[in-house]
Amino acid sequence: MPSAAGPRWRRYVSRLGLSVLAWLTVGVFMSAFLWMVLTALKTQADNTAVPPVWIFTPTLENFRSVFAGKSFGRYLFNSLVVGMGSTILGLALGLPAAHSIARHRQRGLALAILFARMAPFMSYLVPWFILFRHVGLIDTYMGLTASHLVISVPLVVWLMIGFFEDIPQEIEEAAGIDGCSRVRCFLQICIPLSRNGVIATAVLTFLFSWNNFLFALILAGPKTETVPVAVYSFLSYEQIDWGGLAAAATIISFPALVFIFLIHKQIVRGLTFGSVKG
């Protein structure tokens, strides 16, 4: 938007003021994370002190205890396996579907898949549990990953439609005339051209799987319990361990942090693409 007219210094001051306001706003939103990390670094005594202690000697004891007591490493591994499985499967199923919808403007199909995104999953959990049991899929990676598909496929489709629409149709037509089969053309042209979108979609799909709590709560068992369910059981039979909880929360949120900083541009584009018209 063009800026208003006026003396340069006035414009600079107003810009400064707005920047400060913006930073304060973000600061308020970030304060929860800040508090989480601080609490994770404090001892139990410091954490329960009244009034709260602001200057303290940090300790890594809480992080150590998270990994020591429980089989936290295995939970992280499980989350990783399920996350990657659901992302890969979601991409495998969703990318072709998104492409088809983008190319052929299949509105009805899009609606059908997007309705899945809207479904309240609670409504399916009891039947899923009973059905999965009969097929022996409880507490298996396959079962849990399959359930995540109901989130990842619609997500992939929703995010990738925009990216695929961006590819001019002539490129595909030209390749087709050159004798490239649809499938090859898809794999060797469309995907590389929308590489940024695919990456962003993959990351977001992985993150949503990683964050998922409800499905693991019901469908996972001791072998496949994922991190969100494990951290909830941190409320142990002893006192509430604020430091330990905060440390666990920090560790769990870590992938999100890392991914965001690495690929934020694509993520923003992907997230907003589905809702902004060209």
Partner: protein
Amino acid sequence: MASHAELTARAPLVSGRPYKRKRDFQTRVLFPAPALFAIFLLLLFPTVYNVYMSFFNWYIANPPEFVGLGNYLQMFLRDERFWGSIGRTAYLTGITIPAEVILGTAIALLFGQRVMGGRVLRVLFILPMVATPVAMALVWTMILTPTGGILNHLLEQIGLAPSLWMTHPRTAIPSIALVDIWQWTPMITLIVLAGLESLPEEPFEAALIDGASPLQVFFKITLPLLRPSLAVAMMFRTIDSLKTFDLIYVMTQGGPGTSSETLNVYVYQKGFNYLHLGYSSALALVLLGLVFGTSLVLSHFRERSWRY
């Protein structure tokens, strides 16, 4: 970027050539088929099963007993807790969505003013929505603890009255709403920002020349132009808000009493805690109907058609 209209205008028409038709079949049908099949499998069978089970009274200690529409009659006519949960669902969604939209848009406008370090701000601002909800709900539970929590302590320091947050029926849902708003306002902001950045310059320049005030510019030009993006964002957020579970389960389990028990949580309690399976299937179907009904209503209100 080229608009969709331009692209399709330039694309060659689908002709009757057999080779092309075969290739089209591949992409039109075969490409989406696996995805459709997977979703069909995962969602349709359970719905049918739910419908079937909802006609039985199956409490775990007894064998299932056919009651026809008995569960539904009980639900609509005698179950106060059910109606309460509908009201609470509406209440929670009713405070979070407007708050997120207004706050999100305001912040987007702020960020859009070519703020210094704007890029870093946007990256940081994504964090609340991608952090694990369960973990952050636990963190917020600690922050909002009435005795010993940091927020009450800060409120007292600045002279405001501390609140009982999640431990009092009147403030239970607002506490959950607070965390939900914290988590999802960034999404609205990002969507609006992207929308703002793709707006054409001409209307604004014209307005400036005409001497319009910033407020007039906002309400008469910016807002109407943003309407489509906002509408989609609002729709998705509303549907997701009806399905809120993680936050409520971790922070209050629907308590104190049932003051924060939405329909979603009630389905969980009946099905997985009390093991009243037939009844919970009936509740689950009502929840399904509520969500779909809402999405139909909302998409009807949207002016422009879906981008699809």
